[in-house]
Subunit: 173 residues, 2 copies
């Protein structure tokens, strides 16, 4: 059943929540976008929230039907499918950035899981644009110009996350 | 049951979707924010998506418990409660603006229900700030400075919406 064809008003907020209001769909997109998970098993075993295998399979199927993901054979792995973000899901970066900023301010987040959201908020629209260009390169195969001097956003986010994890490890937290 | 205390990770996106992933909660906040609905009956009868009375009552209670709304006796109406946005829900304006912009671009929205989202996107962060100031005035009773020359955002949104409705009426659509 396609959630989009099931809507009851043409309001953009209502239609969006029909797709993203499903918690698991949103978290799968988050893990693909910020954690670079592109295979079923990666998404399953690295899920912070412990997604069940049957739910993951169902939501991936639905996201492909909704045009949020594409699925293809991975030439580098036999018998493995690789999932890619589409232009429409890549353009959710500003939505995720705003949600992450709001959640980090108002909800009881953990330091290690909010550091990337805080960084992305501080970076603002310019950083979001750069991150979307990186996602277009790796998910859509686009040959987008990259400034040789700029540090990739995914690298900045990863470094900040690992620094918090290491610091907490050292302090025994 | 408090959705916040029930979460399984401290990720800001996950915690936010535990609150806003419920379609009806999000739509109630939307109607309070953009439609200036503050009474139970207003929210019920003007709901574009036809919310049921028991669901509305349940979600309003939950939003109050989550600190997203406050409830008080309305001094201007006997036996009526008035609901107000809180600072934390007012700060969702940028989230709604980004969701509205994304939905308007990618989903089969109707013109009359997306015109406000498009206007808000074009206005950018400056317009969102102004709109939040207006909401703080009317919902939090704050005496916030308003530039005498500026047209209130709620008035700009309302005018744009009514213009589309009138035009469609004239063309017999």
């Amino acid at each position: 059943m396609d959630a989009v064809s099931d809507h009851r008003s043409g309001c953009p907020i209502n239609l969006t929540v029909e797709i993203l209001g499903d918690k698991w769909s949103l978290l799968i997109l988050r893990d693909m976008m910020f954690g670079n998970r592109r295979h079923f098993r990666d998404l399953l075993t690295h899920s912070q929230e412990g997604i069940a295998s049957n739910i993951l399979a169902d939501r991936l199927k639905r996201l492909v039907e909704q045009g949020m993901l594409t699925k293809a054979d991975d030439p580098t792995h036999k018998q493995k499918a690789i999932y890619s973000l589409t232009e429409r899901s890549i353009e959710l970066v500003p939505v995720f950035a705003q949600i992450g900023a709001w959640g980090s301010k108002w909800l009881p987040v953990s330091e290690e899981l909010s550091i990337r959201a805080i960084l992305l908020e501080q970076g603002g629209p310019k950083m979001w644009e750069q991150f979307m260009r990186e996602l277009r390169r790796s998910h859509l195969g686009e040959h987008v110009y990259a400034d040789p001097g700029e540090v990739p956003v995914w690298m900045q986010l990863k470094a900040a996350y690992e620094e918090v994890v290491a610091r907490r490890g050292r302090s025994g937290a």
